[in-house]
């Protein structure tokens, strides 16, 4: 039997039993809609969470051990020798130093070139950390250096990519400051600062001078509430202000593959250092929670699809029993058992396809509705996404495909039943 004949006859049969067709299509629609809706929700929330917690699965932050037996076990301060040893660990691709600046820096004026209602006399203490260029080189804007500048030149800084969002959604509303426009190109922005000045009484250094920080890029590898400057600049400022150098605050290890992280972490601990799970752990936990939740919802949706397939199977079985004579007539005019089987499967596939297309449409509309409701009823918060759903093109194909496949699977038994009809006995 040719495909066009098969589809023609299947469509005629479905049209002749409209009620049953509608019920079966509705069942397939519910299954497909649930599947697409929950998978899209899982992926959408996952994307939003990755914006909030941009954990890099290959990064590991090493900090000095809480209790150290010093050089006896190889632990102690994170100095250059320790960094060299960490770099040699199996699975480690790079070791990047971080050094917190112990000289206070404060900003008392708005960044140059940005219209802000900076309150008069308002001073912000700026937490600063020195980092190796290698850690953030991929995030530097084109043509920007990240090295200790000559005297009088602005110090290059990198800010967390998330800081702008946090500022606009949390800091600006709380302090009644002007929000920065979305899409603003912050690179090159210069922030006037006073080096050595602290807003905490008695913490201001004897020497205070004006300097400028120049934004060289945005990076997810910079702590959220700090600005990153070259580690050499931090060392220079420490020397300038006579600050003792107890070693690096932390060392960020970049492993070759995410799977290397547990082994490297174990080696690090054996060396007497600690591993700061920090944001990475949060990102992992959030990611795991989202994966588990989305997986559970998708499983529920698959269950609904399976139930839809069962409903279709039951309905088709009843239909086949009711059409035994019709099937015998088809066999009398030349249908083979395979033709009869294919016909029942084609009817199921058409129902599944129609239900799948409708289901995808319903899921998309429901997602739009949920987004609209979220926009209206949820308070604004940092990284609140425009949509909580993600609809990649393959998801539409998946929804329709799973629906059709489930319907066809459900139709296997009825199709086999139909193929067993004995035409002579039935017609007689």
């Amino acid at each position: 039997m040719r495909i066009r004949s098969l589809v023609h006859l299947a469509a005629l049969n479905l049209r002749s039993d409209r009620r049953s067709t509608l019920v079966n299509t509705a069942a397939a629609c519910v299954g497909a809609a649930a599947l697409v809706f929950f998978v899209a929700l899982g992926m959408g929330v996952g994307q939003a969470a990755r914006l909030m917690f941009p954990g890099d699965a290959r990064l590991l932050e090493v900090v000095p051990g809480a209790v150290s037996l010093g050089d006896a076990l190889g632990g102690g301060a994170l100095d250059d020798a320790a960094v060299a040893r960490l770099r040699e660990l199996p699975g480690v691709e790079g070791a990047w130093r971080r050094l917190s600046l112990r000289v206070p820096i404060a900003a008392s004026r708005a960044p140059e070139g940005v219209r802000m209602n900076w309150p008069a006399g308002f001073t912000v203490q700026v937490p600063v950390v020195g980092v190796d260029e290698g850690l953030v080189s991929g995030d530097l804007a084109r043509g920007r250096d990240f090295r200790d500048p000559p005297p009088g030149q602005p110090i290059p800084v990198l800010a967390s990519r998330r800081l702008l969002e946090v500022y606009n959604k949390t800091i600006a509303p709380a302090w009644n400051l002007r929000r920065l426009p979305p899409g603003l190109d912050l690179v090159g922005l210069q922030i006037p600062v006073r080096v050595g000045f602290s807003i905490i009484p008695l913490k201001t250094e004897d020497k205070v001078y004006d300097a400028r920080l120049a934004l060289a890029g945005l990076s997810d590898r910079v702590p959220l509430y700090s600005l990153a400057i070259p580690v050499e600049t931090v060392r220079r400022l420490h020397q300038e202000y006579g600050k003792a150098d107890p070693g690096y605050s932390s060392v960020v290890l970049e492993t070759r593959r995410p799977d290397d992280v547990p082994g490297v972490a174990e080696s690090v601990r054996r060396m007497g250092f600690a591993v700061d799970e920090g944001e990475r752990a949060i990102a992992e936990r959030v990611g795991l929670a989202i994966t588990v939740t989305a997986g559970a919802l998708a499983l529920l949706a698959l269950l609904m699809t399976a139930l839809a397939a069962l409903a279709i199977a039951q309905s088709l079985s009843a239909s086949v029993r009711g059409r035994t004579r019709d099937i015998a007539i088809l066999q009398a005019v030349g249908a083979t058992a395979g033709d009869v089987r294919a016909l029942v499967l084609a009817e199921a596939a058409l129902v599944g396809l129609a239900g799948g297309v409708l289901g995808v449409l319903v899921a998309w509309l429901a997602a739009r509705g949920a987004d609209a409701a979220a926009l209206r009823f949820l308070p604004d918060f940092p990284f609140r996404p425009e949509t909580f759903f993600s609809f990649p093109p393959w998801l539409f194909v998946l929804g329709v495909g799973v629906s059709a496949a489930a319907a066809v699977l459900g139709a296997l038994a009825p199709a086999a039943l139909a193929a067993r009809v004995d035409p002579a006995r039935t017609i007689a």
Binding site: R2, R4, A332
Partner: protein, 224 residues
């Protein structure tokens, strides 16, 4: 055209075997209109189903339209039913959900592999021609439920003729028809015979057997 030799057919009736056809022999020449008459339950329909390859469970030799039916597997039997014979049943056996023209198109939807298949529009045209031949071109879009008994049987004949079969096998074709409709059907059989179609009718009605070239009586499982 139809050659049945030493045909035996048994049915299981509860605990006992009943032999309904007993060493039956039938020869029908090409273009011959043959009627087989006999009492109800004498095995007339069984004979027809064997000749039409609907029933493959028999003993003996059956050669119809040049094909030895015992040599055919299920797929080949289906192809044989599609290409070589057309069935007409007492109860019409039309699909009630389909309009007349779609019912007539049915055999064309199951053209065996390896045979050029007509397009749906070509098939529709052929079905309308077949309906025109039985005088029902104007009722092509009607469902069987909106046709009279005689009209339904003519639709069934049009369906049987769609594939231009070598043989038409009719099982009590006028059994559910009034006298006038029955006459119309008998006349159609006569027209087919003139067109070279071999017609084998099983019936218990004299008006049908009276129109046949030859009348055979089925008694005790044998033809006389």
């Amino acid at each position: 055209m139809i050659s049945l030799r030493h045909i035996r057919k048994r049915f299981r009736d509860g605990e006992r075997d009943v032999e309904v056809l007993h060493d039956l022999v039938l020869e029908v020449a090409r273009g011959e209109f043959t009627a087989v008459v006999g009492a109800s339950g004498s095995g007339k329909s069984t004979l027809l189903y064997i000749a039409g390859a609907l029933d493959a469970d028999f003993e003996g030799d059956a050669v119809v339209a040049g094909r030895n039916l015992r040599d055919l597997d299920a797929r080949q039997r289906a192809a044989f039913r599609n290409e070589s014979v057309g069935f007409v049943f007492q109860s019409f056996n039309l699909l009630p959900a389909l309009p007349a023209v779609e019912n007539v198109m049915l055999p064309g939807l199951f053209v065996p592999r390896g045979t050029p298949a007509p397009t749906l529009s070509q098939l529709r045209t052929r079905a309308l021609e077949a309906l025109d031949r039985v005088g029902l071109a104007d009722k092509a879009s009607r469902h069987p439920g909106r046709l009279s008994g005689g009209e339904r049987q003519r639709v069934a004949i049009a369906r049987a003729l769609l594939s231009r079969p070598a043989a038409l096998l009719a099982d009590e074709p006028t059994g559910n028809l009034d006298a006038r409709s029955g006459e119309g059907v008998i006349q159609l059989f006569g027209d087919m015979r003139r067109d070279g179609v071999t017609v084998l009718v099983v019936t218990h009605e004299e008006r049908v057997s009276g129109a046949a070239d030859r009348v055979l009586h089925l008694e005790d499982g044998k033809l006389r």
